[in-house]
């Protein structure tokens, strides 16, 4: 810090100098003041710029996932393929696998070409390849549900495969498919013709919000819905466990705990737990809940337990802050009319601190909702939960994923179509986080009390 001026500089003589004239040194000092202030502005600008870049990236890359390309086709539900014996026996109809439905989509394309007069050199098989691999399953589900319609022609809206979808979204171009075995230029010509015909179009895709994840080959059918339920189940566990335990621990530490070394250890422990890397909680979960207690792998219950342990310190710290902000005069007033210490806390202090506790809890939940690392270790990644759970118990115990884990899973699949879904999943996750934080801020504004 020793910035002794260099000898060549003239020594300022403040006495008697006019205040109205800035000397050279003051000018230099003011310039350096300006620079310093600029550094601060630049730092904040960089931070905000990063935030903007991040949000822009998320929105520009993720909104695509909420739209999907569909093609409308009239499919003849051929009796000779679906019900050879013609007796509409559901058991027999069910024996026809999805492969048995492939000829139907080919036939539907052939009919479409004949009807609309589109010229193409493609074979029906190549045309049917434009559809998602999900299409046959969709057909089969429909037929099994409505066996009476076999023999008639029904109009369906099928998902196209991810290349066609990418073509409409600008992700796939005629140049980029040069080495792509999954699609060729003739197929894209057909796509263009179908767009012109109005039977192929991009529209809102609710399945992305409500549906289940799909296998590697069907990015177009993958959705967030089931993972969202997994996240909700975990949040339920966290709320049910972390809130009461956290509040109880805070009440003890803030209101009852004597000042001794045991309390000190607990306090140091809590502040340290708040800074322990989340992956360590994952290791704890794996070792204790899965390997030792044999709770099921990948279950939201286990995820919830791990996240509870991780969130507890956050909730305890914020709850203690709100308890501390209730002035001692309230406690004295209650004690003064003969309430016990316990009654003064539960009847007076706790209700007054409730908004603050709630705010802290919501923020803790939001933090838990976005946490990924511990979930990797307890197996909530890497499989596909295809059906939503049917009951709360199943929701807690059946293997499932969670929103951030689902996003990670998609990011790992290294396919641009899945990347789009990962960004889209982030939008959904952020919508939840922003709403939760907004509720917390509103609560704080609404109930904030200045004593």
């Amino acid at each position: 810090m020793s910035d002794i001026p260099n000898p060549a500089a003239p020594i300022a003589d403040p006495r008697g100098a006019s205040l109205l004239v800035q000397d050279g040194r003051t000018k230099r000092r003011n310039a350096s003041e300006g620079r310093f202030k600029l550094y601060g502005i630049v730092a904040i600008a960089i931070g905000l710029l990063m935030l903007l870049t991040l949000l822009f990236t998320i929105i520009s890359r993720g909104t695509g996932a909420f739209q999907q390309t569909y093609v409308t086709l009239s499919v003849p539900l051929l009796e000779e393929k679906l019900d050879k014996n013609g007796n509409r026996d559901l058991a027999e109809i069910k024996k026809v696998s999805t492969f048995g439905y492939a000829p139907l989509t080919k036939a539907a394309f052939e009919a479409k070409i004949a009807e609309s007069g589109i010229e193409t050199s493609l074979k029906p098989k190549a045309m049917a390849d434009l559809l998602s691999k999900d299409a046959a399953a969709q057909l089969r589900d429909y037929v099994v549900a409505n066996p009476d319609l076999i023999g008639s022609t029904v109009e369906f809206e099928f998902l196209t495969n991810s290349r066609v979808d990418g073509y409409l979204k600008g992700r796939v171009s005629r140049e980029s498919i040069a080495n792509d075995k999954n699609i060729n230029a003739a197929q894209l010509d057909l796509v263009d013709a179908l767009i012109a015909d109005g039977s192929l179009q991009k529209r809102l895709n609710l399945n992305f919000i409500t549906g289940a994840d799909a296998s590697d080959a069907r990015p177009e059918a993958a959705g967030m819905g089931v993972a969202m339920l997994g996240s909700f189940a975990m949040m339920l566990v966290v709320l049910v466990l972390a809130l009461p335990i956290g509040v109880a621990a805070s009440i003890y530490l803030e209101e009852f705990a004597p000042k001794n070394w045991i309390t000190d250890i607990i306090e140091v422990n809590i502040s340290n737990l708040a800074a322990v890397p989340s992956i360590v909680f994952g290791i704890l979960g794996l070792a204790v809940f899965i390997n030792y207690m044999h709770l099921p792998n990948s279950a939201p219950l286990v995820g919830g337990l791990v996240l509870t342990l991780m969130t507890l310190p956050t909730i305890i710290i914020s709850t203690r802050a709100s308890l501390k902000s209730v002035p001692p005069s309230i406690r004295d007033a209650a004690l003064g009319v003969g309430a016990s210490k316990m009654q003064s806390v539960f009847h007076h202090v706790l209700p007054l601190a409730a908004p603050g506790i709630l705010t802290g809890t919501i923020i803790g939940l939001a933090q838990a909702l976005g946490e990924t690392a511990p979930l990797l270790l307890i197996g909530m990644v890497g499989f596909i939960a295809s059906n939503p759970p049917e009951s709360i118990a199943e929701g807690l115990m059946a293997p499932n994923s969670a929103m951030p884990a689902q996003i990670y899973e998609w990011a790992k699949r290294a396919d641009p179509a899945f990347y789009e879904r990962a960004w889209g999943g982030i939008i959904i996750l952020l919508v939840f986080l922003i709403s939760m934080n907004a509720i917390a801020v509103l609560l704080r504004r609404r109930f904030e009390r200045r004593w």
């Binding site: 931070g47 905000l48 422990n269 502040s271 800074a275 305890i316 990924t372 990670y408 996750l429 952020l430």
Partner: protein
Amino acid sequence: MGQILTTGAVLPLVTLIAVLALGGYFLARRRAMISAGGDSRKLHSLPSYYGYNAVISVAVPALLALGIWLLVQPMLVQSSVVEMIPAQAVPEGSSVNLIMSDVRRLAEGLDAAVGAGAISDAEATDLTVADNLRAWLAERGVAIGAEVSPEVLQAAQAYREMNALGHVGRNVFVLLLALAGLLLAYRESHADFRARNRVENAIKALLILAASLAILTTVGIVLSMLFETINFFSLHPWTDFFFGASWAPNFRGDSDLSILPLLWGTLYISIIALAVAVPIGLFAAIYLSEYAGPKVRATAKPLLEILAGIPTIVYGLFALLTVGPALVKIFGRGEDGLLGVDWMSGATSVLTAGLVMGIMLIPFVSSLSDDIINAVPQSLRDGSFGLGATQSETIRQVVIPAALPGIVGAVLLAASRAIGETMIVVLGAGAIARISGNPLEAMTTITTRIVSQLTGDSDFASPETLVAFALGLTLFVLTLGLNVLALYIVRKYREQYE
């Protein structure tokens, strides 16, 4: 009733305890009121306290016993079943732990089949290997990975038997405890019984229990990793772990598992992250706390803090798909790149992960430093202004030196964050363990290896998996050290100005 006594499920038992507790509430309350001749003023405590006392004496000991039983039973059953498995039954290249997981799977499969009504309980007990068990079970919906050896079947049967016995014992014991609690509380409920004091003491005990969960968690973390780490060091030399030169897990065994390359990757990325986050965060904090008007502060501060609320998976994706490719465009691709050089091949690199982690840490550093700078008393600033110092001179020569310990604490906390961060490095840093100074190369970190070793298909009892626990313990000790030091410094700092 018989069902409730033999079931392994916990829910019916808990429901029963809840019913008993509720009944106890009303019974005890009524008895207290009767003893006071119906005049609640003659009671020592409010009537409901007699009820609560009954609820507590029914539920608390019973649930506590249930919890302990749930923890202890698997341990006892496991250890006695392990003793039953003869050493020669363990095939070459396998371990008792593996056999035990087979045993468990078989036992659970049988239980599930009995529960679903596919086989009768008697059938399950009388099974022999001769029945071509695997196929027979598969028909009944129980999938077993490998052929069942007689030892495993025998052990599985014993496992089931002991568990069944344990369940009955548990249910009977817990229910008796609940009933005893009910009886006791009922007999105590007199007008002059100090029910409120009893209830309050019990509640206080519960509060203490909740508070000590924090210690329990820490103990759980340490123990769970310590045991597996000891297992690891019995299978793999500790000298290689701490002083070896390379990390090359090999699933056929005989791996190099040294932490040094991972530690290097971790530290390198953390240093880059801090080099980004500390200057930006510190200058942002200085501007916000010393220069910004209330309006700018009220806008910029929460906006910056949004960066802290964004989940790390989002940063991970940002690193992998946005920052990484952008860096490749600058430093890679030879002639096509912006610099025309070919220094970087893949999107994952130390710089990718470090930059993104730096962005994540900006608000962490800035809000901590902001608090700390605000704690510097205004009188020091006044003193400096009074001497004719400009604001930047005041900040640089008075405020920052005064806040330095606190800022050092904040940086240490940020460093501990960086070292323990997982998702950004899993997606952005790469998977190649090496010690190199080139920030454009992919490297790997402790946390990424924990994830990959524990999510791999490798056998749980192999050193390649167990090393994750040793890595986890090292990570825990490292971050704990930083946290304790940082919290200590910050606390001392705050005391100085209180």
